[in-house]
Subunit: 233 residues, 2 copies
Amino acid sequence: MKIAVIGTGMVGRVLAARLSGLGHEVVIGTRDVEATMVRADTDALGTPPYAQWQAEHPEVGLRTFAAAGAFAELVLNASNGANSLRALEQVGADNLTGKVLVDVALPLDLSQGMPPTLTVANTDSLGEQIQRAFPAARVVKTLNTVFCEVMVDPARVPGEHTVFVAGDDADAKNTARELLSAFGWPERRVIDLGDITGARGSEMYMRLYFQLAGLLNTFELNIEVHRSQTASR
Amino acid sequence: MKIAVIGTGMVGRVLAARLSGLGHEVVIGTRDVEATMVRADTDALGTPPYAQWQAEHPEVGLRTFAAAGAFAELVLNASNGANSLRALEQVGADNLTGKVLVDVALPLDLSQGMPPTLTVANTDSLGEQIQRAFPAARVVKTLNTVFCEVMVDPARVPGEHTVFVAGDDADAKNTARELLSAFGWPERRVIDLGDITGARGSEMYMRLYFQLAGLLNTFELNIEVHRSQTASR
């Protein structure tokens, strides 16, 4: 499949490399190709310059947001959640029409340090905002509850831990589940939270996730859901 | 220990009965004792009238908020989270001074149905609001991530699932942990989220919890935290 990954950061790179390794044709979308390639600084999270990663991954193309969107059959939003709506506007509503838009982004406000607060929460979510802004896209919120290395290789964390999907379009969710399966997520560990408002639960969980990451000194963590065998109510 | 449980609903009753069964002297606090005893209706959640429960639990006293607070060495807030600050005001700041205040309440807004939104989230939490309103109380947020029957009997849900504590006072957290241990929570399954701002994570998780409760058709569920054995960052 032709896949555009939106976002040149750590999450976008890890997803792009993994999808390419699975045999997909993958491009990464960015605002300004030249500016991305000449940037020489390591970012606040310690992510090395993009050009260095690009040299190690010649199989992944780098395009403008719009060119990446035009190329893609499926678009994967791995941009900084605080900027996702602007980035997807540049991808272009026409380039998103009818396509599956897998949204893994987090609406984080890191201005007060860690753990972050969210830029949207409680009565709305980033997943819902994206679906409203691009009503002809078929948005699926997923993978946002785990670190990028765990997204593409869940066996890095032991146990029967869970990944969530939420979205209005059942076929789009099936497509997303196929990607999850290819990444290594067994079907039994995928929980469907229903329509795109389900994104609220998985996004709001991120506060607890970042608190746990600080306490356990790793981002490589996840939760397993246990339930009573004799449901009383 | 002399314990006042604030709140006559299902959560307060389950906690009061369990604490009494463990040998504590327990009273339940209410706004108006007579009104609570004469109420004959079953509430929206199907909870039977208080007087019926009271007749089955003569070992638990019913007092006004203030009298319950004056009686108690430890206060447990099991009131409706949307009303907790008002209820605790009636308990009285003086009656809370220096005491451990275990807060299990959820700031739920159920006006739009299930799953609920929160009355406070993201940049604040009910636990923090209570600690700010009663600075001389030693607030510990805990047990708010599980259904009341699971609070007092975690074995109802299989697996190595987790309970969280958060609070500014280390001794108060130790007292809360002793209660958790008596309820059946092994020490290894108690995660300390740090100071009272940790309540934000456990309260915001409630959105996901209620979504899962709807999907799994039970409130008797909980999460287990798994982490990588080789923490990379």
